[in-house]
């Protein structure tokens, strides 16, 4: 029997599927916390975790952007979220995609987006084609370019048929200025997988608090061939600096690794 979140209107899915894919393709990013990172390094792979919303074991990833969602069940105010860790997957790592949503589905379920949506809209109405080209198509249709997506700056509203209710709502959501209410998750493309991720093979880099770099964690990541991208811990007490800091790190790393070229900017 299909899950309730998998059966919905197809308007947005069809619209996005028909859009031109904006390149280059970005790596997938998984956000977790310091405690889980230690477990992952011990197990040397990231295992899908039970998810109450979908009733199955899943790993949540975001397309290119470090949207912070350490695990689906934890409250957003838990202490472990305070110093997030972001795993950047190797570009082109073939992953078995279960679902794609244009935003964080957990935030949708918790009602964070309700100001932008019709009350009759369901999560399933925003489900997109589970294909590796889909995020780029969504970006092409709504953001115009990959840098615009990375910095959360959507383009002008696309010309749409008035019946494209979900597309209008999505554009309103990603254009919202109330960053505190929905933070980066409103415009980060979510990708779900049920497959484990072997760290050495699938992870290119880890964004993590600088204090990890001095200790055994740094050595363990080095042994796995994973780049360390440390951020300043003290900045975490100054959120105005902090939110852009991790995005800056990812952006810099993508350019440095040749994933984004000067011509893409």
């Amino acid at each position: 029997m299909p899950h309730i979140h998998d059966v919905g209107k197809q308007r947005l899915r069809t619209l996005v599927d028909g859009a031109a894919e904006a390149g280059p393709r970005l790596p997938l990013v998984h956000s977790t916390d310091s405690y889980v990172l230690e477990d992952v390094l011990t197990a040397k792979q990231l295992e899908p975790q039970p998810c109450n919303v979908f009733g199955e074991n899943l790993t949540y990833l975001f397309y290119g952007r470090p949207a912070f969602r350490p695990n689906n069940d934890a409250a957003p105010t838990s202490l472990s979220h305070y110093f997030p860790v972001c795993l950047i997957l190797r570009p082109g790592w073939a992953i078995a995609i279960k679902r794609i949503y244009p935003f964080d589905s957990g935030a949708f379920i918790q009602g964070f987006y309700e100001n932008y949506l019709h009350k009759a809209m369901r999560l399933a109405d925003f489900g997109l084609e589970p294909d590796s080209a889909t995020p780029g198509k969504l970006i092409g249709g709504f953001f115009g370019s990959v840098p615009a997506y990375l910095t959360g700056k959507p383009g002008a509203a696309p010309t749409l048929d008035p019946s494209e209710f979900e597309a209008f709502s999505y554009h309103a959501l990603i254009s919202a200025q109330e960053s505190n209410a929905i933070d980066s998750r409103g415009s980060g493309v979510e990708i779900q997988t049920g497959a484990p991720l072997p760290i050495a093979e699938s992870v290119a880099a880890v964004v993590l608090p600088s204090t990890f770099a001095d200790g055994a964690t740094g050595q363990a990541l080095n042994a796995l061939g994973v780049d360390l991208l440390p951020y300043r811990v003290v900045s975490r007490s100054r959120p105005s600096e902090y939110m852009s800091m991790i995005t800056d790190i990812c952006f810099n790393y993508y350019i440095r690794m040749g994933l984004i070229s000067e011509a893409d900017l």
Partner: protein
């Protein structure tokens, strides 16, 4: 108020900053962590869930509240944890770094260097951190250097040339990538030229043998034009208005054709007001001195900008010259009567308590006045953007009200009563007594418990009620800004002046002990002075020819009249202290080393 209950380790047992965790009481369900602003004060206490017990270990008995200095914790390589405010940790950190106490924790050392703003003092620490990171992750080290070290310096260099809110938005989005000895900076084309002299970047780049910085302008991909009317417009005339408006946070272009001749013009964003504030009409603010011709120009500009629905406020800088104002300077009453459909005439007067008669200090009076003009602007604009919670902008009647504005830099270590006293002191005005205000509202830069928003403060002879309104700002130094609404104009009687002198003396913590109708006796820390408030020229001339009883340190004549050399010489011969009321600061400083408590 919450108490420290533990310290959360961010990454393993090594050296580095720890996260202080607080609770309202020992068995509380919720814990809190601090959000600390750029001034190192707690701007917010965020509730958090503790999923795991905090690491065991004794923590000192420390409490913190919003608006107070934030608490930081740093663990050194010996495992010793240092806890205290930023100043203390910076002091300890500098000592630790100077003796090489973090040699095996290069990233923790680098973080401490940045916390202490000591990059130039400890270049070897940054280089060691880079080398240590490069040994395990070359790309990671290069990204760290770009994003954690160079990019903040580049943004600081750019910020020095920022001229508008659009510039500052563009600066936030700048990207820097260093490759092959060149730092490539990608940013909005509006920033082209703003990195011609990147001093902050240069100092750091030299440490890492980076020779060149190249700016690559990016064409803005989306141009979402703002619609609607500006939420606020400021039109100013005169040097002080130009000085204030061309600097942060306004960055007015002085060659704007809309500006009056010799003035400046700046407008706010035309984006919609914040949620729930759509009912607040736009705000027109004028800034002028006391020449009626300038006030008339502001009126004309308002007529051009108005459709009749706006709030209209005029900030009037009272004369900055020494002593009694020239007759060409209009009184508040004259200005008020000349205003057509204005809501409030705000008087800036703090500088009139700080004049000493020399050219240098006349410049200083202008400088002081400019700070209060900026504070008044900040407060009025904050009000219109936030639906005027303190009812500062509200219309009164057909006639404009007269108000006083004061301000003081927020100092977290001071008790609220003293902070409030400082603000009130800066609102003392010979022409309009502060205690006559219908209401006094203070915009407080941090949130406050509801029970602490009403206060009564003694200034001189008067118990003054004030209402505090939290007005957190996203950026900039936190100030407390006061607005006294609907004050009455002084009748300028001798008793009004006496009352004014008592209030001034209270600013130096002199307490009134006796008033015999002619003189006032004040005492402070075992010392006493007798103060003679004089408003009549003849009486002044007569008094300085009599012999003083207590000498020039004990008998002080204070007047609002212009003092001539012959008066001063006569006073000196007869053993009097003699001061215009604006000279009290100098007199107190030289005779009693008493600092004005409201110094800003």
């Amino acid at each position: 108020m919450v108490a420290l209950i533990g310290l959360n380790s961010v990454g393993g047992p090594g050296a580095g900053f720890l996260l202080p965790v607080f609770a309202a009481h020992a068995n509380a369900n919720h814990a809190f962590i601090q959000r600390i602003d750029a001034q190192n004060n707690v701007s917010e206490l965020l509730p958090v869930l503790l999923e795991r017990p905090l690491p065991e270990g004794p923590v000192p008995s420390l409490e913190v509240d919003i608006g107070q200095p934030g608490i930081w914790a740093f663990r050194d390589e010996t495992g010793e944890v240092h806890i205290g405010d930023a100043e203390k940790i910076q002091h300890l950190g500098s000592e630790l770094l100077a003796r090489g106490g973090l040699a095996t924790s290069p990233m923790a050392a680098a973080e401490l260097v940045q916390f202490c703003s000591a990059e130039r003092r400890f270049p070897s620490v940054l280089k060691a951190a880079f080398a240590g990171l490069a040994a395990i992750s070359r790309a990671g080290a290069e990204t760290w250097l770009d994003t954690m070290i160079l990019l903040p310096a580049i943004k600081a260099d750019l910020s020095r040339n920022a001229r508008s809110s659009e510039d500052r938005r563009a600066i936030r989005e700048v990207i820097a990538v260093t490759q092959r000895g060149v730092t490539n900076v990608y940013g909005d084309q509006r920033l082209a030229g703003a990195l011609d002299n990147p001093t902050d970047w240069s100092q750091l780049a030299q440490m890492f043998d980076i020779a060149e910085l190249r700016f690559h302008p990016l064409v803005k991909s989306t141009g979402q034009k703002e619609k609607g009317r500006p939420q606020w417009i400021v039109t100013g005339i005169g040097g002080i208005a130009r000085f204030v408006l061309k600097r942060a946070p306004y960055y007015a272009a002085l060659d704007n054709p809309v500006a009056p001749r010799g003035g400046a013009y700046v407008k706010g964003s035309s984006t919609e007001p914040r949620s729930g504030s759509s009912v607040t009409p736009p705000l027109l603010i004028g800034i002028s001195g006391s020449n009626l011709s300038d006030v008339q120009v502001i009126q004309e500009k308002f007529a051009q900008q108005s459709n009749g629905s706006e709030f209209r406020h005029l900030i009037n800088i009272r004369p900055t010259g020494f002593g009694t104002p020239k007759t060409s300077k209009a009184s508040p009453q004259l200005i008020s009567e000349s205003l057509d459909h204005f809501d409030t005439l705000w008087l800036i007067t703090a500088h009139r308590l700080r004049q000493t008669g020399t050219f240098t200090n006349a410049m200083s009076a202008s400088n002081v006045a400019s700070r209060f003009v900026r504070a008044a602007l900040n407060g009025l604009i904050w009000s219109v953007r936030n639906n005027d919670p303190a009812k500062i902008l509200s219309r009164k009647s057909r006639h404009s009200g007269i108000g006083l504005v004061g301000a003081a830099r927020y100092i977290a270590k001071l008790a609220p009563e003293e902070m409030i006293g400082r603000v009130l002191y800066s609102m003392l005005c010979e022409e309009a007594p502060l205690h006559s205000a219908q209401r006094i509202a203070l915009l407080w830069p941090y949130t406050l418990p509801a029970q602490e928003t009403l206060r009564t403060i003694q200034i001189g002879r008067h118990q003054i009620d004030v209402e505090l309104f939290p007005s957190p700002r996203a950026s900039g130094a936190p100030d407390v800004i006061g607005f006294a609404m609907n004050v009455r104009l002084s009748k300028r009687t001798p008793s009004d002046f006496t009352d004014f002198c008592v209030s001034i003396a209270s600013g130096y913590n002199w307490r009134l002990r006796d008033d015999d109708g002619q003189s006032l006796i004040f005492e402070h820390e075992g010392e006493a002075i007798r103060l003679w408030p004089i408003t009549e020229r003849e009486k002044l001339g007569s008094l300085v020819r009599k012999k003083s009883e207590f000498g020039s340190h004990g008998d002080l004549i204070v007047t609002n009249q212009t003092l001539t050399d012959s008066m001063r010489q006569s006073a000196k011969r007869h053993g009097w202290g003699l001061a215009h009321f604006s000279e009290m600061e100098r007199w107190m400083r030289s005779n009693y080393h008493a600092e004005l408590f409201a110094d800003w």
